[in-house]
Symmetry: C2
Subunit: 521 residues, 2 copies
Amino acid sequence: MIKLNSILKIRQKLVNTPLIKQYSSKTVPLTRERYSYLKRNPSYKALEDHDITHFKGILGENGMLSNLKDSSELDLYNTDWYGVYKGSSNCILFPNSTQQVSDILKYCNDKKLAVVPQGGNTGLVGGSVPVFDEVILSTTKLNKVRSFDSVSGVIVADAGCILEQLNQYLEPEGYMMPLDLGAKGTCQIGGNLATNAGGLRLLRYGSLHGTTLGLEVVLPDGTILDNLSTLRKDNTGYDLKQLFIGSEGTLGIITAASILTPKTPKSVNVALLAVNSFEDVQKIYKLAKNELLEILSAIEFMDSSSFTTTLSYLNQSKPLSESHPFYVLIETQGSNFDHDQEKLAISLEKLLDSGLAKDGLIAQDEAQSQKIWNIRESIQMATQHLGKCYSYDVSIPLPHFYEAVELIKNILSKSGYYKELDPNNSAIQLVCGYGHLGDCNLHLNIVSKETSDQITSLLEPFIFEVVQKFNGSISAEHGLGFHKAKFIQYSKSDTMIELMKMLKLQFDPNQILNPYKYLPM
Amino acid sequence: MIKLNSILKIRQKLVNTPLIKQYSSKTVPLTRERYSYLKRNPSYKALEDHDITHFKGILGENGMLSNLKDSSELDLYNTDWYGVYKGSSNCILFPNSTQQVSDILKYCNDKKLAVVPQGGNTGLVGGSVPVFDEVILSTTKLNKVRSFDSVSGVIVADAGCILEQLNQYLEPEGYMMPLDLGAKGTCQIGGNLATNAGGLRLLRYGSLHGTTLGLEVVLPDGTILDNLSTLRKDNTGYDLKQLFIGSEGTLGIITAASILTPKTPKSVNVALLAVNSFEDVQKIYKLAKNELLEILSAIEFMDSSSFTTTLSYLNQSKPLSESHPFYVLIETQGSNFDHDQEKLAISLEKLLDSGLAKDGLIAQDEAQSQKIWNIRESIQMATQHLGKCYSYDVSIPLPHFYEAVELIKNILSKSGYYKELDPNNSAIQLVCGYGHLGDCNLHLNIVSKETSDQITSLLEPFIFEVVQKFNGSISAEHGLGFHKAKFIQYSKSDTMIELMKMLKLQFDPNQILNPYKYLPM
């Protein structure tokens, strides 16, 4: 039987191992060479020796990396997680105080040196690495918890604190961070905020726009904006902190945050359901919300292709008797194990009796829970393992959620690149959809044998056109970064984009922060 | 026994009666005369006949009020809820479409006519009425629900929809609005958003910054900003809507909103506790969070003065045997009555056994629940009934929450105006504190026999200095409006205020929207 927060602990183990980059940074082509249309903005000054001397004056010898004979150490910071984007910065700065961040930005702004803020560098859209020779400002050494109040549950932490370490800090107090995502062993809370990270339990604990109570931010001119309120209610003026949440380091650098944390649940339960149609998947979601109400903590979706590919990758037997078109994972978190089990069992009975679920199980022990979550969380790895994987992270309103996947399958079939029934004789081996059903967040993976410009041009901008057609978002939780900056018009109107540009220029008139990304300036 | 959402329904009845203004608008002095230092900004054009003709062209004869022989109808819109602030506008506009709002603002911006946006006009800081002769733009006729999706629970509604009517709309669908406040029978969702209204259940359902998914806003120059997304996850650019939430109509006029609504609970339980010290009140809060976790929906605080004054006003007998210094109301909302009752009973037993609660009860029927809530919700009326009531709405971190009340009592005692033990021979009859404990939101009422400038000058800015000392907020949920604009520096740094001014000028360079309020421009 699964009592207390044992499943949580197992899941922590699962994701706690720092992810190892799968590529050699040396072999990743430079972004500026791959995208030959890119031009370095000549208004940015090139880094000179006396700039490096100046930074050494602020940070000391050990506070930076620069002018190295072997560039492999620099490569680590220049290259993104997936080995897709690579810059050529010769200067990585590691400030250990807000004042140092301020001194650096003031200097860079005066000299027009472009700067890329970098947290754990686990982003998936090329937002945290340079495009050309921008200086990298790493928040890694801003890594202290400033305070925690065990009555209100409010934590105040430096931007460089690693998400998982914050969870470890909170665990003995009976609290946990309100967000949970695969990269938690490496990603930093500052980066989570700058990218408005979502993850697995946004359904239950809400977005960072709701749980963040205050931010400390350094503006491009070095001004320190002290808005580290720990209050849940504060109606005194514009809620400026909200602008920085999700701004991907283009308006200022977050140096600390005050966050409302929820109590750790005492009981966690997991169920897996097999479903015949996406219409029934929606009905199950509605019923689960109604029956499980306050204890529902995650409702995840996998199509048959995601599910079977991952079982095969994990060399795991089928948890349910037959194959089905769709699978739904339901997780509950509550304060009383018996109450939660009872609620979940009644719901499952209703779902099976009504025929909405064709088959289903409730995990009876920790190992079984772990196995179910492991399928859901290994899909990305399993598809990447198959071949060249094109991954998309989009939001689609539920009525059209899976229709989007079918439209992609359809266009790829028509092109001749995809033979669903004969994948061995097909350039594209797999098209699959999965994701956070409760947040309408679809992850869509297309796997081909080889990287191909033809396939890329079939997928983009077609996928974004589909998203636009259904009033979705071209980026649900991964952000715009370098990859999607040029596609923002598929999700935002010209008026919105113009207003965003106006704000960018107002906050960062020299455009020194994270250039060539986020907005088409 | 209290099953289903019967208590919710009772509470709806309680608050559903439209509040009746307690004063005659005719006798309220004009704000510009009461505050003689105020000067009308000469850059604003005075309204002329041809402007009125122009507005009639947009709205028709029935779409506005102007040039009336009897000004009492205009007075209704010129005077605020409490009868404290009164403007002298001669023109009230009632657009019934976003395009009409756009046409009006474009004209006003071109002509430099100042405009006050007005929703239900239930604000408490003079934010929704003119100071001089500003045109009033009422959102009352923007009153349609545009869509509701019963799977996701997302409602899209015009700004003028009344909060309670939205609840009535959602009820048959099994959903409810995520906020609840006393004025819900009159206040409009647009006004709720513009003032970032908090209320009774923010503890459970979070703030509007988290539950609002999209906004449609008309900017001062008439530009319509279409950001009515219905997606929970959308990371495509700056989250512009957040700027308008809580901006009190100074950046743009909200014309519609997309809001995520929670499921209506199936079971509601209420408990009342008597407590000896504020230290124990804090411990009770911590224990309640830990034990009740996912079902805790409100935790409210009353001091002895609030409690006994209200019992006497309601002519109600003591619900607990003796008098105690503090009282705590706990409410749970969940999906299973038996489970919730069991959790609450176990918690109450622990609280009584540990001595943290000196006495306590769980409401055993609807009438008893209603009685307990009625005490908490009648405090404001009971204190107003006693005499001239000075009401303050502030946030104070919990360790100092009640210390703030004691500091006020202390300074008033020292001044000789307040004799706590001999109120009949005291200019000030009552000082009491109550509020939303779970949100650190303190309501502080001071009741005197007569209005007195000396008492006002004892209270202000002293109360704001106390708030500042404890890193609180001078406005928790009521906003800045006219009253608190000049005190914002007690809660925000000069840097923050400067940035806010910069944003105001960027969005509204002619400063036509809601002037003389919010920020010291």
